[in-house]
Structure formats: C-alpha cells, structure tokens
C-alpha cells in the first residue's frame, strides 16, 4: 500500500502540467522515466534525477482552460467495476507472470539496487538478464517506488500498474469525449475497461508486470495530443515515452511523428527535441550493453524480400486472434466496421495509426526468426492492446450511442 500511495502522489505531482488526473499520472511516469533514463546514460545520480523530475514537470505547467465534461454515471460505474476487481486482486495476489518477473521487474530491482542502468546486472555479471537491451522507462518508474519504499518487492508496484490501466481509461474517456462528446467518451472507456487482455494477469494485462498497458497509455496520450493539437513539446514527451517503454514504441513514435510534422510544421522541432534525445540516449545505452538474446530485427529487415510468402499467413493468423471471441468479443469486428465509416468521413489519423502499426507488426512477424504461429500467438494480443486509442476512436465515430462529428476535426484531411 505504501508503494501505491507513493506512486500515486509522485507521478501525479510530476505530471502536474497535465489537465486531468489520468493524464497527470501518465505524464508523471513519462517525465520521471525519461529523466532517470537520460541521467542514467550520463551517469548522473538517479536519486537526484528522481528529485529533479517533479521540478521539470512543474516547469511544463501552463494555464489551461477549465474543462467541463460531464460523464454519465452509469458508464463510469460500468468502467470502474473491472478496474476495482483488478485493483483489489493486485493488492492481494502476488506478481505471477513470466515477463513481469523475468524481464521488467527484475530490471527494476537491479536499478534500485545498483542505482545505475548499465551496472553489473545489465552487463550480465550478476545473473542472466534476458532481453537486456529492452527500454527501461517502466523499470525505472518501478525502481523509484522500490527506492522510496525501501523494499524491492513487487508488492510495492502492483498498484502502480493498475493505476496505469485506470489512467489509460480516463485518457481514453477524455480523448473520445473531446471529439465525440462525454457520453460517447464514457461508454467507450467502459468498453475498453472490459476488454479481456487488459484484465489478464499473464499476457500484458493490468495484473501483470508487463509494459504493454503503459505503452498503450502513452500511445493513447500521443494519439489524442495529435487529435487535439496539443503543444508540440508535450507530444514530443509522449513520443519519447513510447520509445523508452518498449521496442515497439520506436516505430509507433516515428509513425506518429509524420502527422505531427504535418500538423505543427515548423513548430514540430519542439516535438523532435525530447524524441531525438530519447532515441539517442536509448541507442547509446544499448551500445554499452552486451548483445541481447533476441532477434536484431533491424538486421533482419533485408530478409523481407525473401520471406514475402509469410505475409499472407501472418495476416491470417493476426486476424484469427482479432476475431477470437473469448479474447476480444466483437471488438475488432466493430473496429473494422468503424474503419469503413472513418474512410467515408475522412478520419485519416486513426486509420493511419491502425494501419501503420498493424503493418509494422505483420512485417515484424514476416522477418522474425521464430515459427510464425509461435511468435504471433505469443504476442499479438498484447500488441493489439497498444492500438486501443485509434481503435476506440473509429468505434466512437461509427457505433457509439451519440456520435456527432468531431467539433473541430483538425486532423480530418491534413493528416
């Protein structure tokens, strides 16, 4: 409980520049994670960086208009039921998933213990560190909680992950609401709250220690920052957070950078500052560590022309997961219908984001060294979670109870 309260307070304060609580929490995680990562690469004290992060967050604060979005209580209640269940479960059930223990929180323990991101653990001198070049934003945030509570045990971070899930839902609710109205936003968030993969304890869900929900959350923040024409620098922070959260975050960020440049034009330089800083820091850090134990997918890209026969089966396998009722219900079928509506309404941003990231994932499967079925089955449901914001957006456009045209459809044709 101490870790939960600390995470709630620390990340909310650090993200004070954001308008709503959900976004504040995520912005706090982003700023803290980015600050600690850059400090780690520069070999600056991580504790000092953890103290500096809220100060940086405060400097980003600006005056914003009071927002009046009144959400239907019924929708909020429907949304909170599964959140409450996973919240209580997280406090009672110890971490039990593979990736959380073998990858993410083991790294968090090492950061908290060594106070460095390229210490003996990351050099493989203490024990095996599988996926030793995975981006570290989530482990760094968890390490702050470990250090603050003086206990490097997952019981202190269980609540932190559920709060990310709740923050994601609130960001989705507000983001959709600002485009399609509060009722639509509230019901779409309620819909997202009941999607099975988000609730799982072993496949990237809120009860696991994965970084997939944080990636989905930062992706949602970046997506809605584009849709709302938020400040370019804020967008840059979200993109930087994507890059430092998971490997998939880099193509996600680069994909969203294109419409950012189209929208902000000359001002997009402010987006590039945090993004390029995080990319440079990531590559410098990775170059210091022993080779990772997973595929170097960049090195495998030249194989693409020789493996084109895998594209069809890869798409088919991905599609079979999307329509698996016990996992997604009718969600992706609704998204497909929503995409048709989005095309007719010239809502290109969600189509571009969905299509772009699905193409990235399919092409990754094509060049990956694993057997196609194995790699798709073990990852696609997690990867699809990343696309929750654009997916809900097209559903909102097509199927939501009240779906007026976006009030200022700033991204309609330009992107």
């Amino acid at each position: 409980m101490t870790g939960l309260l600390f995470a709630l307070a620390y990340f909310t304060v650090t993200g004070i520049a954001a308008t709503t609580w959900g976004e504040r929490y995520l912005l706090g995680m982003a700023i803290a994670g980015i600050t600690l990562f850059v400090a780690g690469v520069l070999h600056l004290p991580l504790i000092a960086a953890a103290i500096l992060a809220p100060v940086l967050g405060l400097l980003l604060r600006r005056r914003h208009e009071r927002e009046r979005l009144r959400y239907p209580r019924a929708a909020t209640a429907v949304m909170l039921v599964p959140v409450a269940v996973v919240f209580i479960a997280a406090l009672l059930v110890p971490l039990n998933d593979f990736d959380g223990r073998v990858f993410w929180l083991k790294k968090a323990k090492a950061v908290a213990h060594e106070r460095a991101i390229d210490g003996p653990f990351f050099r493989g001198e203490v024990m095996e560190n599988p996926r030793n070049r995975y981006p570290l934003l989530v482990p760094l945030d968890a390490a702050i909680v470990f250090i603050a509570t003086r206990e490097a045990d997952d019981r202190q971070t269980r609540g932190m992950f559920v709060l990310v899930f709740l923050a994601l839902l609130l960001v989705l609710r507000r983001g959709i609401a600002r485009q399609f109205g509060p009722e639509t936003g509230a019901w779409c968030a309620a819909l997202a709250a009941w999607i099975a993969p988000f609730l799982s304890g072993d496949a990237g869900g809120a009860l696991s220690g994965h970084a997939d929900i944080p990636l989905a959350a930062f992706g949602a923040c970046a997506f809605f920052a584009l849709a709302d024409r938020d400040t370019p620098f804020r967008l840059g922070i979200w993109l930087a957070a994507l890059v430092l959260t998971k490997n998939e975050g880099l193509p996600f960020a680069l994909l969203l950078l294109v419409p950012a440049v189209a929208i902000h034009r000359a001002r997009a330089g402010a987006t590039l500052v945090p993004l390029l800083a995080s990319v440079a820091a990531l590559f410098v850090w990775q170059s210091r560590l022993p080779p990772t134990d997973v595929d170097d997918l960049f090195a495998r890209v030249p194989l693409l022309p020789h493996r084109l026969e895998r594209i069809g089966p890869a798409i088919a396998r991905v599609a079979s997961h999307m329509i698996a009722f016990p996992v997604w219900g009718l969600f992706w079928i609704a998204v497909a219908i929503g995409c048709v509506v989005a095309v007719r309404r010239r809502l290109f941003l969600p189509l571009y984001t969905l299509g772009g990231m699905l193409a990235v994932y399919v092409l990754t499967y094509v060049v990956h060294s694993w057997a196609l079925v194995d790699i798709v089955d073990s990852s696609i449901d997690r990867l699809l979670m990343h696309l929750i914001a654009p997916a809900l957006f097209v559903i909102a456009a097509a199927l939501a109870p009240s779906a007026p045209a976006p009030p200022r459809a700033t991204f309609r044709t330009g992107t």
Partner: protein
C-alpha cells in the same frame, strides 16, 4: 440503432472477459488471511518456499549455480533469479554444462519442480538415469568371491560424452560384498539379499566421487557380475572381470594407449617392449605406446594388469585386453 449495436459490442466484451474476471475474484478471495509469503506459495506452489529455503541456508554472498534438471524448462531458474536478486547466480541448462565450466560457482542448486541444494555428481547421476542405462541386458559372468575390474570411472569427456561404469551383481544367496576403489582406497560394503544389485554409475553411487581408477571386489559368496564402461550417450563396452592375478609377460595386441594397473600394495617395476617403467602401489596409469606391447613385471612381489585402448570414431573406446589372462 447505434445504441443497440454499441450495447451488443459492450455485452460481447463483458461476456469475453467475465470468466477471467470471475477467476481473478476467486483467486483474490483465496488469498485473504494469508501473509504475502504464503500467498506466493499459494500462487507458485512448493517452488517459492524452496527458493526461500535455499537462500536462507546459503551465505548471502555465495554465488549459486542453478542447474536445471535435464529435459526441464529454464523458466524456473529465471524465476529463482527474480526472487534471489541481488544474489549472483549462473544458470546451466543441464549438469553437463556445469561440469565443463571451470569458473562455475561451487554451490549447486537443483532447479526442477522445486529448488534444492545439491551437488554436481548427484545432478549428473540424475541426468544419466534420466537418459537410461546404456547396457539394456547385461550378461552376468561367474566372478567368484574375489575379483578385479581393471577400469572404473565416473568422469566427463568432451561434451556430451560422460563415462560411467554400469554394473550388475547377483548372488543366489545373501552375500556381503566389499568394493574397494583404488588407488584412492575407498571402501564400501553392501549386502545382496536375493535380487541383483544394479548401478548406473558405480563409482559415484558407491563412493560419491567423480574419478578414475580400478575396482577390487570381495564377497562372502560367489557372485555373478557384469561390468561395462558406458560412454554416454553413445553406448557401452564390456569390462572384464579378472578373477586371478595375471602372470607375466603378457601381450597386449593393439591400441594407441597402454594402461597399467598395479593390483598389489608393492611398487611394480616393468619392462615394456624392452623399456623400463614402473607403477606405484595400487595405481593405474596410461602410457602412450603404440601396441602390440609385451609387458613384463620385474619384481616378483608385484602384479600388474595391462590393456590397450583406442578411441573410436564414435567417441567410444576400443579395448585390447591382454592375451591369456582370465
């Protein structure tokens, strides 16, 4: 209409996730009233308490070798690491890899269904037994009450080769059998009470050492016995049961290494193809001779058993036993 469609969509996701959510509620409810440590044991079974036990009984700074039971997943070792951090550990996918690591931690933790302190020899034996015996149907020969086996070993070769002596001993009546492993002079006495004794790795099972030498066996009743040098995973070659001290000179017809086993407590002076040599009491040595070789013992109070060996292409050993020796 849109509301209806959205309602169907919402109900579909609730229907998809409800079973999982119900399971989560059930799991969470089962955790109530337990300490966090007990909850981990409830979730992970006996594995978590076993991790705690290993960490408790070993010094905090002692590095641990996590040796995975052959055929099992390494995942459990990775989980062990998670709870053991910052303890230094090295994971070995099976005991063979531990055996060839010159810098391996001394403390060995067996990682299977549970984690338990173990030893390399014990894990090695477990792996060998997992693979099964190399000799499927041993042919028992009359061995009398006192005999020698000129080669007894439990050692590792180039991975994956492992050498052991598989043995079967039988007696129609209860008998006390004393095994002596020389030149270390380790002794162990067992009773055969009707059913045959079988060893997959005689040297380690009887004496708890990984070493090479030869064996002296004494029994209160005549035995029937079969011994073989097993070259895992290739196969096995029968070893002779020597029931009488050999007389010299003896002739070894082939081989590119000549083995000399001194069966007595006296140093043995030798002449091998006219050259002088000697073997310490009870010792066993190999010499680089290209046989045929004629081996003669110079001093009468010593007795030496000589044989030749040649490495075969498949990694096994071809033996050349001395001519005219029982």
């Amino acid at each position: 209409m849109k509301r209806l469609l959205f309602g169907v969509l919402l109900v579909s996701t609730i229907a998809a996730s409800a079973p999982q959510l119900v399971r989560t509620v059930g799991l969470a409810a089962s955790m109530r009233g337990h300490s966090y440590r007990e909850r981990r044991a409830l979730v992970m079974g006996a594995f978590y308490p076993s991790i705690e036990q290993v960490l408790r009984v070993t010094p905090p700074k002692e590095p641990l070798a996590l040796v995975v039971v052959k055929g099992e997943s390494r995942d459990s070792a990775l989980f062990f690491d998670y709870y053991a951090y910052p303890r230094r550990t090295t994971i070995y996918a099976e005991s063979a890899f531990y055996g060839i690591d010159g810098h391996a931690p001394k403390a060995v933790v067996r990682i299977g269904d549970v984690a338990a302190l173990s030893s390399y020899g014990a894990m090695r034996l477990e792996d060998l037994q997992h693979d099964g015996a190399m000799v499927r149907r041993p042919i028992l020969r009359d061995a009398g009450t006192h005999f020698f086996v000129p080669l007894a070993a439990s050692i590792d070769g180039v991975v994956p080769a492992r050498y052991t002596v598989e043995a079967t001993l039988a007696c129609d009546q209860p008998a006390q059998v004393t095994f002596t492993f020389r030149p270390k002079n380790l002794t162990r006495t067992l009773t055969i009470d009707g059913s045959p004794l079988h060893f997959d790795d005689l040297v380690y099972e009887l004496f708890g050492v990984l070493d090479r030498g030869w064996l002296e066996v004494a029994s209160t009743r005549p035995l029937r016995a079969a011994f073989a040098l097993a070259t895992h995973p290739r196969g096995a070659d029968e070893l002779p049961v020597v029931t009488a001290l050999p007389s010299t000179p003896m002739r070894v017809a082939g081989g590119d290494a000549l083995w000399l086993v001194n069966l007595t407590r006296n140093a043995a002076g030798l002449r091998i193809n006219g050259k002088s040599d000697f073997v310490l009491p009870y010792d066993s040595v190999s010499r680089a001779y290209s046989c045929p070789c004629d081996v003669a013992v110079v001093n009468a109070e010593a007795s030496v058993y000589a044989f030749g060996t040649q490495r075969r292409a498949d990694g096994r050993t071809r033996f050349f036993w001395p001519e005219g020796v029982r």
